[in-house]
Subunit: 280 residues, 2 copies
Amino acid sequence: MEKIIIIGLGLIGGSYAKGFTKNGIKVYAYNRNISAINYAKENNIIVDGTDNLSKDFVSKFDRIVFAIYPKIFIEFIDKYGAYIKDGAIITDVTGIKGSIVNTVQEKLGSRVEFIAAHPMAGKEVTGVENADEKIFENANYIITPTEKNTDRGIAFAEEVGKILKFRKISYLTVKEHDEMIAFLSQLTHCIAVSLMTCKNSKELVNYTGDSFRDLTRIANINENMWTELFMMNKEALLKEIDSFINCISHLRNYISDGDEEKIKNMMRLSTERRKYFDKK
Amino acid sequence: MEKIIIIGLGLIGGSYAKGFTKNGIKVYAYNRNISAINYAKENNIIVDGTDNLSKDFVSKFDRIVFAIYPKIFIEFIDKYGAYIKDGAIITDVTGIKGSIVNTVQEKLGSRVEFIAAHPMAGKEVTGVENADEKIFENANYIITPTEKNTDRGIAFAEEVGKILKFRKISYLTVKEHDEMIAFLSQLTHCIAVSLMTCKNSKELVNYTGDSFRDLTRIANINENMWTELFMMNKEALLKEIDSFINCISHLRNYISDGDEEKIKNMMRLSTERRKYFDKK
């Protein structure tokens, strides 16, 4: 891979750009706001970029990364899909796949291959100014191929994961991905937001330990992106929320009943399972 | 303060010992298991210690810190309270106060003053081997005086907080403390344990981002200590769990209804409130 274009130069697009550039790949970008492009050019994060897409520009690229919100991604394909070169391979970074992958693959037909991937990394800040390719180093990267993908397409997604030095590259089906993400990522954000809003907690900062801070780090949330992600994975997310509410209700009842042995059993299981998640 | 004795040389007792020793105070300790005493002596964390309390030993001290579980603390006062010198001041580190403070103050009468305090710090490991006085530096310290406490007693608790370099020393009533702790600390542990146990998540480590790790850090939990703390603050904790379940149920219903504006409002409030907790 000699050159690539990134569509959307925000935190994740910018971090991809930095990682690619460090590996000697010529990175170009499109962003609807030119200031991100200018910043990235001045800081040698990209070679060049534009806020005004032309067929001439887009058709120069065999490889494209879409680092934009899911709905805009689909709109983009509708509007500019025809600009993409025959035989090009494109990938994405979106946090849900079910509402995206089949739709985009169908729109593109056999002319352009879309291989979906999800970098499980982020920060509580936005924008290319905060981009940092190191966020990928301890992070997981999930590729979700369908029967429409070719070995060549899958190899491209894997190459992206390797260049960006993800800790682990895995494969899931679209459905498995969305169920997993409903639990690991969307439910956790629902919990953090609920905890942060269920009490007016302004004065509590003087009494808090680290546990409340840990559980609410992600309560600083991009409401547009996450609402979109929740809506696009509604069914799987509701299932996980209900399962969690059921679980904490059990614990609540053990406490209410004073059933210390059941509380301790739950805590022992919790400690045992948490060990899997210790960083190696 | 020239010398002090710490009863219970675990993670918190050991960290107090290290902090006091660094400030030139002669630290002595009692621990039921002699190995912790030996370790602390060998590593110059304490001057001397014992696993066998005598009146002769205890009565040498004007200042005592109890760094043991709440129930054992009360048992200790029953058994050894008479050993404590007339006019001595004692403090503690226990995470709940309602079930402790009045009981201990009544047992001690006017001969010995008990001023309760709560260092809001900890680690997911136990034992004096893991003790580290730096855990207090960014942490809060809450003193919970009652009408039985004197200025002299309160000044001692404050001195402890200052010597250990807590970020902030605050005062709460016993009731305020226990309500606050039910929300900030006990509820968060209930959430973490429930999240960690509601799915068999062994294989999920390959797909996780940091949010799940953050929310479950404290799911690695000391089941004996926390079950005791939950039981001793049952009423306040149940109130907070119910309030949280109510809150996440609202979010669940907004998602189910597709009410994006209500979801976004909740997220905006969440982001706004989380800012109070940014570390300065």
